[in-house]
């Protein structure tokens, strides 16, 4: 149950995070900002930076957590296998 819940929650939250980070332009279209950053208008450069480095960082996180959840599913499968063996004895 634990690994299943983690898998579903991870997929929902990670999908939401990716969509948010890749669509910062949508956020700025709702809440415009009139400021400059690194010599560019914030509304121009922040979506570009988030669309590159933000997404890149999220892929690192998603890769790590995804691998960990796979291991947990594998462990729950093993527990299940052991329980079956115990039953057969």
């Amino acid at each position: 149950m634990k690994a299943y819940k983690k898998e579903v929650q991870f997929t929902i939250w990670m999908t939401a995070a990716f969509i948010l980070v890749g669509n910062v332009g949508l956020i700025f279209s709702i809440f415009p900002v009139d400021a400059m950053l690194f010599g560019f208008p914030v509304m121009y450069i922040v979506p570009i930076l988030m669309g590159w480095f933000g997404v890149f960082l999220l892929t690192l996180v998603a890769g790590k957590i995804g691998n960990r959840i796979d291991d947990e599913i594998e462990r729950e499968n093993d527990t299940l296998g052991n329980a079956d063996e115990a039953k057969e004895v």
Partner: protein, 548 residues
Amino acid sequence: MEQNWQLDNPILGLVVVGATFVLFYIVGFVSNRQSKSAKELYVGGSNVGAITNGLAMAATYMSLATFLGITALILQLQVPFIMLWIQLILAIPLITIIYGTSLRRMGAFSPTHFIRDRYGTTASIIAALFMILVSIMYALGQMIGIAITFETLLGIPYITGLFIFGILIVGYITIGGMAGATNNAAIQMVIIALMFIVPLAAIMKAIGASGWYFPPLLYSDMVPAMMDALPTFFDYQFSPKWYFSIIPALTIGALGLPHLAMRVYTASSLKSARSAMVWFAFILGLVFSATYAMGFVGVFATTTQGVTISDADADKLTIILNMVYNPEWVTALVIAGAISAGLSTLSGNLLAIGALISQDIISTLKPNISQRLNLRIGFIAIFAGGIASILLAINPPAFLVVSILWAFGLAGVTNAPLIIVGVWWKEANKFGAIAASVVGGAIYIIVSPFVFPSIVLTGHGVTDGMGLSGAMLAVPISFILLIVVSYITNRIPSLSGKLTKQADIELIERIHGWKDIKAYRYNSTIGAGITVVVSAAVAIWALMPWGM
């Protein structure tokens, strides 16, 4: 006044392009000489390493549009188009986490392979036909683009270029299979990145930009002059609704593109697939950012430096900037880079067409053919798909030559909901899938400006033409139909004999990695209900006035 933008010395361009073709043929031949099964042909034996796969994913995704189309649209639409393009980077990460690893675990060749096992033959053939249409639209765009590049830049007549280079391209893809296409795509990615970014640095240096040594991000010293010359460049122009519509049309649309998903299945392991997505994000972010810089420099050069580019030449912006600021041999290398970008995408499209025809249609209808015959049909299907796109490119039917971005929406309507809901909800069944794909697809086509020009949602050419408005209506309808029709038909006793509930449940548990079956897993009625409510809200919003 229109100028003739052609290399003074086309032989130079031909030699460079010819050299890259020789390289691609050798790599394709060496990589694929051991393809003995369909698995090796379509997913490279599922043993591709993370870096090669990440680079190949990026190259497959970056079409000829990177060099030709995007910069023209930045010239036309300016910042809104950049905002639209940024989220395309989400494709592989979202495919990987939402369904890619599950389908890789299943051993699927193509997304429709999963649809066949999950929803049965009829639904998979409908989905496969839509996917073949999407892949042909995509492949045709690349084929036409490559022939036009040869015509306008190297002076080779369109039909001659189309046939000679078209057949050369189809030949190397057929010889190489997925293993060859993957290794070639990884090489092509390096060529694309170098041939785009290094010449851009030289252009920026010539213009006087101090950050020329890192073109993707260091061009802020041009911003004040740009704001003086063209104060509207950074304007968002459109409402939040327009920016929201990008999500159903392109973010979800990319999840249905078969040639992207197939890259995930080539991974040697699930861990490797996840590492590949990291490499993909890094390299794609780099080249995408350089593309925005190229668009910016193009607008800057035309508004402040006296460079004149006619509307008809807008899509040649990258090449023209190189011709103006760089020596001719550099432009020849850029043309080779552009051709490489077209080739990597085209190879992904043709392999998808091959897998769709041979695995998802012929093998579905005739499941007992031998492995040897199956492989032969695969090669023939890839070759036939290529020849079909060459023949269509001679005098392309208007409805096929629409924006590639419109094809994203079609994939998002007809394919993505079936895969996403199919992987995560046991109740989804074939009646829901067929209803979603057929009705959703029909609505998307009807509200596009290509069939009934008077039935459109916004009347704003680019918004309707790129499928943004159509997908905002049709994608949620597709999700609603899939969930509601499945839910109802599962509760009609007379239909239960036509459903394969137990097999569906076992498949879903298995592709998520479970060895047992639990009723509580992937069975949330509340989750399905929330999806229906949110989808209904989005569809209603799409029908309300856009104010454009």
